[in-house]
């Protein structure tokens, strides 16, 4: 009996943990992802402010490839063809200026605030 109960408890714990983890990470994802669209050779929104730990996802909506590069080289995307995406998680607060290395008149900034 004792053995059975212990088993039941451990089983419940095993079952509980993934559920809790799943709901936590799902809410974390929704809050910490920010999309930036590349439309008509423009980053939209062009300047964003996000909390530390946010993942920014750039989506290229143009018929032309673009490449997202941080001015201070903290990040550099591969070439993004139409509908391709690049994501970068901002772990450190600060202001990150970036541009398209193919069309350098396209510029944007990500400001990362400490939580």
């Amino acid at each position: 009996m004792t053995r059975f109960c212990l088993r039941g408890v451990s089983l419940a714990v095993v079952l509980m943990v993934p559920v809790v983890e799943f709901s936590l990470s799902a809410s974390a994802r929704a809050a910490d992802i920010m999309e930036v669209h590349v439309d008509n050779f423009t980053f939209s929104p062009q300047a964003i402010t996000v909390p530390k730990g946010t993942t920014v996802v750039w989506i290229n909506r143009d018929d032309t490839p673009h490449r997202i590069v941080a001015v201070k080289n903290q990040f550099k995307s591969p070439v993004l063809d139409t509908d391709e995406t690049f994501r970068w998680t901002f772990a450190e607060p600060g202001t990150y200026a970036y541009f398209c290395s193919m069309h350098p008149h396209m510029t944007g900034t990500v400001t990362v605030a400490a939580k």
Binding site: N40, F41, T42, D62, D63, T64, P65, R67, V71, V79, D81, T82, A97, Y98, F99, S101, M102, H103, P104, H105, M106, T107
Partner: protein, 320 residues
């Protein structure tokens, strides 16, 4: 425009032979000359290459922006339109001495795109081809290495070089690497120093042809159509009596004259781009399928002794 060029023909003292040559070309294009920055039609094409062959001039053809690999709505068959352009050059009654390609050979710098471009361009009967890269050709990890290995062996730096042919000095520049945030095309200090050295000691009467992918004059800062440090390059070129700058990048014909320097952009063989201010962005312009080939094409350039201005003929893949 057709009316103007016919008017010019009618008022020009053409002999029967050249008139027939012109007539054979009627409808395929118009010879442009540029006076005081204003382009005007000065004759039907056909006269240019015929005259170049007899006047001891240097006659070559410019291909630009073939974007091999591009297959979106604006042109699902960029290989087919490059082939059509090559067919057009091969069919010229007088073959050019060589061909230049002013960049964006490929769309995404992929080896397969370069391979296909190489295969298609191998069908040109005129040769050789002198290449410079566009920003679409330098997307590999070592920017431009794949391009240079195929198309610019023996070049310096990011792919610049010079050569002489027919008494004309050609300078092939690269303004698509190390682009700076918020800027335009970029030549860079190393290349500018090389250009200065390359031109030093050359007589001012030597005709100069400059090749660069992005325009060396600012057509639209908003769309990035210019070169940030072009002025420094032009400073080394102003003392020459005839300078012809040939650019690509903007997929349409624009021309400007500044002193002895004439600037020309070229049609693409892949897709047209809009005129600045006429669209929200410079992205590929979608036109009805039956109009596409009127907006794609190549150009011939004819440089004659004693004439400061090159004669340039636009050759669209299809006439209207």
């Amino acid at each position: 425009m057709g009316k103007d060029s016919l008017g010019d023909i009618a008022s020009s003292p053409l002999d029967r032979r050249s008139l027939l040559k012109c007539m054979a070309w009627a409808g395929t294009g118009v010879l442009w000359s540029v006076v005081g920055g204003v382009p005007r039609a000065s004759g039907l094409i056909g006269s240019a290459e015929a005259a170049a062959a007899t006047a001891g001039g240097l006659y070559f053809v410019q291909i630009s922006d073939s974007h091999i690999g591009f297959a979106k709505e604006a042109n699902p068959d960029s290989a087919g339109t490059l082939q059509a352009a090559i067919g057009k050059i091969n069919a010229l009654p007088v073959q050019p001495e060589f061909v230049i390609h002013t960049g964006d050979v490929s769309h995404l710098s992929k080896p397969a795109e370069f391979d296909l471009a190489q295969q298609l361009l191998g069908e040109l009967t005129a040769g050789p081809i002198h290449f410079i890269p566009g920003e679409h050709d330098v997307l590999d990890d070592t920017p431009g290495a794949l391009f240079r290995d195929r198309f610019a062996r023996g070049s310096l730096g990011d792919g610049w070089y010079s050569f002489d042919q027919g008494g004309v000095h050609f300078v092939a520049l690269v303004n698509v690497t190390n682009l700076q945030a918020g800027g335009l095309g970029n030549l860079g200090a190393t290349q500018l120093a090389w250009l200065k050295d390359d031109l030093q000691g050359r007589g001012a009467s030597t005709p100069i042809v400059v090749l660069a992918h992005m325009p060396l004059w600012t057509i639209s800062a908003e769309w990035g159509w210019g070169t940030s440090d072009a002025e420094q390059a032009l400073g080394h070129l102003r003392r020459f009596g005839s300078v012809t700058v040939l650019n690509g990048h903007i997929h349409q014909v624009m021309q400007k004259v500044e002193g002895n320097i004439s600037f020309h952009t070229a049609m693409s063989t892949a897709f047209p781009q809009p005129t600045p201010g006429m669209a929200p962005s410079p992205g590929p312009m979608k036109v009805p399928a039956d109009q596409l080939r009127r907006l794609l094409g190549v150009a011939s350039v004819d440089i004659r002794p004693g004439e400061p201005m090159a004669r340039r003929v636009e050759m669209p893949l299809a006439s209207s």
